[in-house]
């Protein structure tokens, strides 16, 4: 062919001799009779079905996995090898159709061939199916321009019609990372939905359940009490990561949780943090009951503790003699008081009064709250503690620090203030600035103690150094509205993109929206786990793939 000839790029190539011969002999008869066998699937692709609608298999070798071709002359289905054989042995049986792609193939040329008449036959059937499908949509009563753009035609099979809405949802949001799915509100259950969304995307928890570590088949708890919170959570994980994007109703889980927390079983609004704690408690309790042990949080192998449990160190110092007694307590989350000193009214600043040389900030920060949490606090004179050294009750100061960091850290902001004096409760609405990357090392016991005592050679238990102190945020549970009537919404960070999970509605949002939200519970996970999880839920572009065997934690 002359490369310089001004032929249009996409012209239909000349038919090979074999195709030309076929056309001469049979004309369009073969294409027309094929029309009945063309079937357009919900994905918009037209395939060739066998008359009996069975799964196509090679007539000669029964193979079903490779490409299969339907001979236009004798209608036998064969795999590639047998198609070539067929064309050699049975003269004239050269032209066949690739059943999965509805494309012509010539057995003598070993190549794909093109015929405008054939394509017309395929397209006309496709259009017919499209019309039927549109009528079907209208009869269901839905209107969506987006769907028309997708132009998904359907099989005439009635069964598929019912599946339509969820197929549409899939197509619209299938670019979202896996596991992202709305949760239906079952009656003021946004407190539950919001926490569930956060937990579903906590990398260590997600890996645990998705890798099938809790086997529902062999779960012994079921036989004990008839229900198992872990089994129900496992069911939720399977459903949420199934690929189905239609909103899910965690009804069975709700019922299970009510069994466990009978006092909270109602349809009234509840506190998300309370739910979170009761859920972790439920998981832990079952574990202990089963193993008939009463393990400390430090050794407890239950998944709740393995993921969220850390160690809090409390140092109480006698202000008279300086003797310090240290105690360790496990924690599942850290509740932070909002730093009220920061939220002075702007009048003070306007008057120009200086506070310790620093300008007052009108918004609090999470870091500020953590600073407050680990600040030495002088206990009031009514809280004198017994000093072992002085052998009497003395004024003391107490300081908290982190003895051991958990894999996933939940920081709760105490926004609900209960005043015993006024016998009222109110919600603190201040905006709290929170970081996406959090370094917890200044709050570790080693840092806190060193700060207090100066740079001394103090040895600490090896626990601290094992665990990294750098965290990345992966979920924020926010609250809007008033104490009695409000709404919880969770923002999830997957692959560095933020998603808003508002019960059944999932939408992409930008960072600014998240930063401006009123955080109630912030969930952080160790940086390494966060980045590993990101690799798992999406593909890195092939060019930047480092090692071929990325450890896919928790999948296979």
């Amino acid at each position: 062919m002359d490369p310089s000839s001004a032929k249009p790029r996409c012209s239909v190539p000349k038919p090979c001799n074999h195709l030309a011969d076929y056309k001469l002999k049979y004309g369009l008869a073969g294409y027309d009779s094929l029309q009945d066998n063309f079937v357009t699937g919900s994905n918009g692709k037209t395939i060739v079905c066998t008359p009996d609608r069975k799964i196509p298999r090679c007539f000669f070798c029964d193979g079903y996995r490779e490409r299969l071709y339907l001979c236009l002359v004798c209608s036998s289905v064969s795999c590639l090898d047998h198609t070539l054989l067929h064309s050699r042995s049975d003269c004239g049986n050269d032209i066949a159709v690739d059943v999965k792609r509805s494309e012509l193939y010539c057995g003598k040329c070993h190549d794909q061939v093109y015929d405008a008449d054939f394509d017309t036959a395929v397209v006309s059937k496709y259009k017919k199916d499209l019309i039927v499908c549109r009528n079907a949509f209208e009869s269901i009563g839905e209107r969506s321009s987006k769907r028309r753009r997708l132009s998904s035609a359907i099989d005439l099979d009635l069964k598929k019609w019912k599946e339509l809405p969820c197929i549409r949802d899939q197509r619209a949001k299938s670019c979202y990372p896996i596991g992202l799915r709305g949760l239906n509100n079952l009656g003021n259950t946004c407190f539950m939905n919001s926490v569930l969304q956060a937990l579903l995307h906590a990398p260590p928890l997600r890996n645990y359940f998705l890798s099938g570590r809790h086997n529902r088949e062999t779960c012994p708890r079921r036989s004990l009490d008839g229900f198992c919170l872990l089994c129900d959570i496992d069911i939720i994980f399977s459903a949420m990561f199934s690929g189905d994007r239609s909103p899910y109703s965690p009804a069975q889980f709700l019922y299970s949780w009510w069994q466990h927390s009978a006092n909270l079983a109602s349809y009234t609004q509840q506190d998300a943090h309370e739910f979170f704690i009761s859920l972790l408690d439920g998981i832990h309790e079952k574990e202990n009951k089963l193993r008939d042990t009463n393990k400390d949080a430090g050794d407890c192998p239950c998944i709740a503790h393995r993921v969220f449990s850390g160690l809090l160190r409390s140092d109480v110092t006698c202000l008279t003699c300086g003797f310090t007694s240290t105690t360790y307590d496990p924690f599942m989350d850290i509740s932070l008081h909002l730093d009220s000193s920061h939220c002075l009214s702007t009048e003070t600043t306007n008057k120009g009064s200086k506070l310790n040389g620093s300008t007052s900030i009108s918004t609090s920060t999470l870091i500020g709250c953590l600073d407050l949490f680990t600040k030495p606090e002088k206990l009031g004179s009514d809280q004198k503690l017994h000093c072992q050294n002085c052998q009497e009750k003395q004024d003391s100061s107490k300081q908290l620090s982190i003895g051991r960091l958990p894999l996933a850290l939940c920081l709760q902001v105490k926004r609900f203030e209960h005043s015993f004096i006024r016998k009222t409760s109110r919600k603190i609405d201040w905006h709290l600035q929170f970081p996406f990357s959090l370094d917890m090392s200044p709050y570790l016991s080693s840092s806190i103690i060193r700060k207090r005592l100066g740079n001394r050679m103090i040895s600490f238990d090896g626990d601290e150094s094992d665990v990294s102190a750098e965290y990345e945020i992966f979920a924020v549970v926010t609250h809007s509205g008033m104490l009695e009537s409000g709404h919880y919404v969770t923002y999830l960070r997957l692959r560095n993109q933020w998603y808003k999970c508002d019960d059944a509605w999932i939408t992409e949002v930008d960072e600014a929206t998240v930063r401006a939200s009123q955080c109630y519970m912030t969930f952080y996970v160790q940086k390494m786990l966060y980045h590993k999880a990101n690799e798992e839920i999406g593909c890195a572009p092939t060019s930047s793939r480092r090692d071929s065997l990325m450890s896919v934690v928790g999948y296979c």
């Binding site: 799964i55 079903y64 197929i167």
Partner: protein, 110 residues
């Protein structure tokens, strides 16, 4: 009239015996019948496009055609050459994702 219940099948009957479907075949049938295979194929297409695999394959095809000459290449040649490379370069997360879904699906039908 009682027949012996332990009577072995007659030799003639044994001839017509069909091969038992293999586990793979059963899984394949179940996947297709439920429509899951189609969904999974769509998902796979999307994921492979997302991560650039499709573009990579396209580039490989172009390179091959350029080398061989446009008129000397058949679809069969391309399929033959590209298939092993394609299979080898599917990213692990994609494999894992699909495997997980198949597993979930199987759990739901068993």
């Amino acid at each position: 009239m009682r027949h012996s219940v332990n009577r072995p099948p007659t030799p003639d009957a044994a001839e017509d015996e069909e091969k038992e479907p293999t586990l793979q075949e059963i899984i394949n049938i179940k996947l297709i019948e439920s429509g899951e295979k189609e969904r999974l194929m769509e998902l796979l297409r999307e994921r492979l496009t997302e991560c650039g695999w499709k573009d990579e394959m396209k580039a490989l095809c172009r390179a091959f055609i350029k080398k061989k000459g446009r008129n000397n290449v058949t679809v069969d040649d391309l399929v033959h050459v590209i298939t092993p490379k394609g299979r080898a370069s599917v990213p692990d997360p994609v494999k894992a994702d699909l495997l997980q879904r198949i597993r979930t699906f199987l759990n739901s039908v068993i």
